[in-house]
Assembly symmetry: D2
Homo-oligomer: 293 residues x 4
């Protein structure tokens, strides 16, 4: 297929590489052009604008936040200006459901199609095509995008016909990740102070009822206090928690656990930990119990 890819951060580059290896003709764009080098060396074409990258059958976007998506999709030289009628914009970024709804409308108004397909997983999983992809959009559009989405992920979930639904569900996943970190932080604090060995705590939990990837991956980071270099930063977590709370506000659904982790992340920023891995909030539960964080 003729595919465009906009946004070549660690996630975007990894996904674009997978598509290239599957034999698609790929046109890429990134704000800082040098990030495209490796992909171009591997056969991708480099576009001068997002619009130019969007002239194929499908264009995927993978950028940092609402503002960046707005800019590359709807701004001057944005995707929306290059996409032909009937072609598909697949948004993989974690954005607000409000923006997702706006993108759906704007594309529809031009006869273009929009599929929201946020992904779960970190760059190493992305590079192996082992993400979890949750897609939502008009069924025919999702069907047309399916071959590409299946190449990106180990598993594809189609979750609804309104694109914003996929974004809400992705926000829920982030919420579960953040609050699981808080759960584990409190357990490590209580357990350690009682005299339990931290590695034993981790082994028992992940070896019994609590052995999901969310427990194993983040539990290990807390166990090893592996906060630096970060897999994903506190700053990013602040943004994502805000998105959850905004969704809750827009839908009038209180999310008390989200508020609690929001305070942890804010405090981490105040303590100078904004650039560390977001599991660093485990320090706060530990210190509140008089332990070294």
């Amino acid at each position: 297929m003729e595919i465009g890819f906009v946004g070549l951060g660690p996630m975007g580059s990894a996904m674009a590489g997978v598509l290239l290896r599957h034999g698609h003709r790929l046109t890429v764009w990134n704000r800082t052009a040098e990030k495209a080098k490796a992909l171009v060396a591997a056969g991708a074409r480099q576009a001068a604008t997002p619009a130019e990258a969007a002239r194929g059958d499908i264009v995927l976007t993978s950028v940092a936040n609402d503002a960046a998506v707005e800019s590359v999709a709807l701004g001057p030289d944005g995707v929306i200006g290059g996409l032909r009628a009937g072609a598909i914009h697949v948004g993989t970024s974690t954005v607000s459901h409000a923006l997702s709804e706006r993108l759906a409308e704007e594309h529809a108004a031009r006869g273009q199609r929009y599929v929201a397909a946020p992904v779960l997983g970190r760059p190493p999983a992305a590079a192996k095509g082992e993400l979890f992809v949750m897609a939502a959009g008009e069924p025919a559009a999702v069907a047309d995008a399916r071959p590409v989405l299946e190449q990106l992920g180990q598993r594809l979930f189609v979750v609804g016909e309104r694109p914003a639904l996929a974004n809400v569900l992705k926000l829920c996943c982030n919420f579960l990740i953040f609050t699981t970190i808080e759960q584990l932080s409190e357990v490590f604090a209580l357990g350690e102070k009682s005299g339990l060995d931290r590695a034993t705590i981790f082994e028992v939990l992940t070896g019994s009822f609590f052995g999901a990837p969310v427990h194993r991956n983040y539990g290990r980071l807390i166990l090893e206090r592996a906060y630096d270099p970060p897999g994903a930063t506190v700053d990013l977590a602040v943004k994502d928690t805000q998105l959850v709370l905004q969704a809750g506000e827009a839908l009038s659904v209180p999310m008390p656990l989200a508020s609690l982790v929001r305070d942890r992340f804010l405090s981490a920023v105040a303590r100078g930990e904004a650039g560390l891995d977001f599991t660093v909030i485990a320090r706060q539960a530990a210190e509140a119990g008089g332990l070294e964080g």
Copy 2:
């Protein structure tokens, strides 16, 4: 081995049955004697007091709470009066770490040995010997109890030398179960109100990062609103949450998530749901968002 079993509720009966099938000579006791019928029919001997049940190599106790353990272990005609020097009391109940420490002392003062071995799993798992068992105690005592503990569980974790450590870790597991229910409740509320299908939410979560037994088992109960008949009641959850908070208080470790679920369980009691399955607190997050609970 010559084994005693004290406490034949759903968990106790199931565990005792497993031991009987493994060929041990079993003497059982229960406050209401008729609950012993099936085990006696299968070959167990019925004792008139906990002390009488405790005259073998090992006696296991499985009763409802601190008061019940205190009564059958330390009360008149209690286990402590029947156990010979060197024999082992294995406590499988979920009790406070304070009581566990007291049991360790009382048994040691009489030359008896105490192993705390709380278990994770519901009666059907117990009946198949598929519990998770977390044991703590003096190493030689744990070694002597090991064959029995391994018959009870699919996996045995030895977590420390002070018995109370196993109880703290069991409390941590309960804490994780309760707070995972709150996590999932908030996710179902936000997701459902956004328009997502509840079954889709469950499928995506458990099919991606959140597929541990704790997610699948309790998530399904919430999904199906299967609150009645209860697997374990709100009343029991109130007790267990108090144990977590008491451990936190004794060790000076704040557990904000535990406080939050405690309020959910108290409110469930106030709403007349004390006898329902403790996942019923999912109603509260739903109703707070204006949904039917």
Copy 3:
């Protein structure tokens, strides 16, 4: 003095009336022009635009939220286009400290002066000049505005030289009001369920350590369940709580109590109580305890 007044809701009308009675020459503007009638009948002149109202020595604005202030102050035909160099814009609305900072910059860039002077009190107090006024701005500007500010309030506090400081302090006052409502709600719930008479609770609290206006005014509304007609609505409280939380986020200061009342207000909206007095959240603490709300 030659004074303009922009925004004639219940608060604005009351304040403008006070200024008129003190003998100032008053020019007023409101989006819906008919709200100016009573003031015009009493001698005020009606302007066609905010800019036109801003041609005197001082112009005060009193509108609903950030967007409205932005519109009347900085929009086309806004205050900023009519105010002469050296003249003063006094912002009395409860707005974000971010907007306050922007107003200070925009006015300064035109040689105009900006004083933030948010007020504490409801319309009846405003009509009697009995508000509490907290002002911040460049000292000479505050000094020039002082005679007017003193006429509006029973007490004027000058709280700093950066206008935004007054806005932060006003947000803190709102935060204290909202969280005091939650405090009293929980007390009424516990007390009532124990068998105490609600009126007795109110009498003892306000007659001992807890007799501030915040206790007496809002406590009485809860005591009498006087939620309709509203003095100030849940919708307004949602907005104001967001401003507090945004300030906390911008400054990296967690405000756990603010998150808690935010959830109460969101839930009130979800329950269909958006248009009731914001003390209606007392129902939630009551119902959580199994009482009628």
Copy 4:
């Protein structure tokens, strides 16, 4: 009147001194006898047991907690053994409503009368007879105790006929004190970080809507960081918060704000601040915002 006074800590000594100055014949008892010296020098008689102190018309108890009240009232040589039929035990301590109910029953079973009369105020207020007294009990008993209660307080509130009601209301007052400290802590943190002067914050709040004793007294301690020597310690606050939460549990009423301050107090203990004034929890909100506590 012939009055006994049991418990001569700072509060008890001050109250006993007031009664002595009003001309009553006073018999006092304290666990450590030397604390009675000043009162004996001023004319009081010293008893060898609480029972002996309880032989007059009225005996008041003022001790630290449930266990101490249980001991001096119901233990060997306790008040209950000395009090004649028809005489009155006035309990001024802050205790659980459960214990209050038990005292009412035990006294009634012996034809004695029990009035719960917990007090609000610190020792200096007690010494001037300026406490707030909230009394509950059988009306005739309260009427007979009234002259004494009025001498102890600047104001007497009769709050119900079941003694435990006064204890619940006292717990509510403590709850309001603790949570007001949290409110003010968060305000000081946000305000200070925004650049506001701390003294200005205090002046504006207490000079406007927030000028109750609870705001002025505790706000000043936070403002001045006057945590040592303590007026009342963190340890005491832990106990009192537990009483509130236990009442909530017994009555099935969630108190989310109480849980939040409980965590603050526990953390203070963990940080080594158990012996400081309980307003020291203000440090935690400050430090969470990156400020010096």
